[in-house]
């Protein structure tokens, strides 16, 4: 962990990276975007809770729900009753967990559609499959 959210600086060697450029940009921005978004949700949720209750004290567990049910339940609550401290924090954690998941999914699509590299499409599909299965656990 040497540089967190560092801005891109090295001049890319165009001849070497021409074919890979989009893949790296896609993955890089997906990761940065996901982490920043989740930190905003979490910080906003905590700040909101602090301002309204005068103390920091959100306390709840996610039990009896798998990850996808957790997301659906949270989004449903947001749609029905609007944002709230707890819902923002949950949304932040869900976004954080979805960040590497989306990165793997996007890489798989890129390998399949753009690079037409079946070997790596299968590798990333395996990773995506295992992750999806484990996120269905409850």
């Amino acid at each position: 962990m040497t540089s967190l959210l560092k801005t891109a600086s090295a001049p890319a060697d165009q001849t070497l990276h021409k074919a890979k450029f989009e893949m790296e940009t896609l993955v890089g921005y997906l990761l940065a975007g996901g982490v920043i978004l989740s930190m905003i949700f979490i910080a906003a949720g905590l700040a909101w809770d602090w301002v309204t209750t005068g103390r920091l004290g959100l306390d709840y567990t996610i039990k009896g729900m798998n990850f996808f049910e957790f997301i659906v339940a949270d989004v449903k609550e947001v749609v029905l009753t609007g944002f709230g401290p707890r819902r923002l924090v949950s949304l932040g954690i869900a976004t954080l967990m979805l960040t590497p998941f989306t990165r793997v999914a996007a890489s798989m699509v890129y390998f399949a559609v753009v690079e037409r590299n079946w070997k790596y499409t299968i590798f990333t599909a395996f990773v995506l499959g295992v992750l999806t299965y484990s996120l269905f656990l409850r």
């Binding site: 967190l4 060697d13 070497l16 890979k20 920091l56 567990t61 932040g92 590497p100 295992v130 656990l137």
Partner: protein
């Protein structure tokens, strides 16, 4: 436990993790247990925060084309399975065994860091057929030497299974296990140092997600408790990396290494049943 205290401790853990190069999780778990958080909950929360710190730092390196995506995506197949198995073991493990394992891994990573050799990188002499089939050859623009460095990776048939072990430790203890992954990249697969650290960052993110999914299913993740900790560790790591760029002071590194040694030793002692 007051969330403000947790927030402050996490900033410190993220900071020390970044400054020492050991990662936030390895500092966070002992710190949380010292504050009275149950070790399994500490591990579960730590692994969620590992997703944030590793993905955050990975993003910049991927865009700079230093990370070898193919090496990362091949090795991920092994680390995620290891991560799932490791987390499942933690759930059924006795507490003192986790303290013991944590102490051993912390002190071993500490040794690796302390004895860090600054040897030059040796390119792979012979690329085996399997590694060639995996298309692992890569290249990146090295700012220090001002030119593009191309390299090959070898012995992927050995690196893969070893990464299962690294993933297992990551899932078991809620850490990134970056030191171990870098060691495998360097010594077994012959990747240049920059490529091996940045590729390890990419792999850590998905491995941590695999572990997180098991802890989530076990009901060990309390989002209210986790939120200030995740935020704190990201803030601390961010400050740490900024400071790290400006301050390359060996004395500071030594100081943090002493702190880490004490943390490792006390985990080991608690695992052995010695009350401090």
């Amino acid at each position: 436990m007051s969330p403000l205290v947790l927030f402050a401790v996490s900033i410190l853990a993220g900071f020390i993790g970044a400054m020492s190069g050991m990662g936030g999780g390895i500092v966070l778990v002992p710190a949380l247990t010292l504050l009275g958080v149950d070790i399994k909950h500490a591990i579960a929360i730590s692994i969620v925060s590992v997703i944030a710190t590793s993905s955050g730092s990975a993003s910049a390196y991927v865009r700079d084309h230093i990370t070898n995506l193919k090496v990362g995506m091949f090795l991920e197949m092994f680390t995620i399975v290891g991560g799932l198995v490791g987390a499942a073991i933690t759930i059924v493990s006795a507490q003192h065994l986790l303290f013991l394992a944590f102490g051993i891994v912390l002190l071993a990573s500490w040794m690796a860091l302390f004895l860090q050799r600054h040897e030059g990188w040796r390119p792979v002499a012979h690329v085996d057929a399997f590694s060639r089939w995996l298309e692992l050859r890569g290249g990146y623009y090295d700012q220090a030497i001002g030119e593009t460095l191309t390299y090959d990776a070898g012995r992927a048939y050995f690196g893969g299974p070893l990464m299962f072990g690294a993933g297992l430790i990551a899932g078991l203890l809620g850490i990134g296990a970056g030191a171990l992954k870098v060691l495998i990249h360097d010594l077994v697969m012959g990747l240049p140092p920059k490529v091996s650290t940045t590729t390890s960052n990419l792999i850590i993110g998905v491995t941590a997600l695999a572990g997180t999914s098991v802890y989530l299913a076990a009901g060990l993740i309390n989002p209210g408790l986790a939120a200030p900790i995740i935020l704190g560790i990201v803030v601390g790591a961010f400050i740490g990396t900024r400071v790290l760029v400006r301050l390359r002071n060996e004395t500071v590194r030594r100081f943090f290494l002493v702190v880490l040694f004490i943390l490792g030793a006390q985990m080991l002692l608690r695992g052995l049943g010695v009350r401090l």
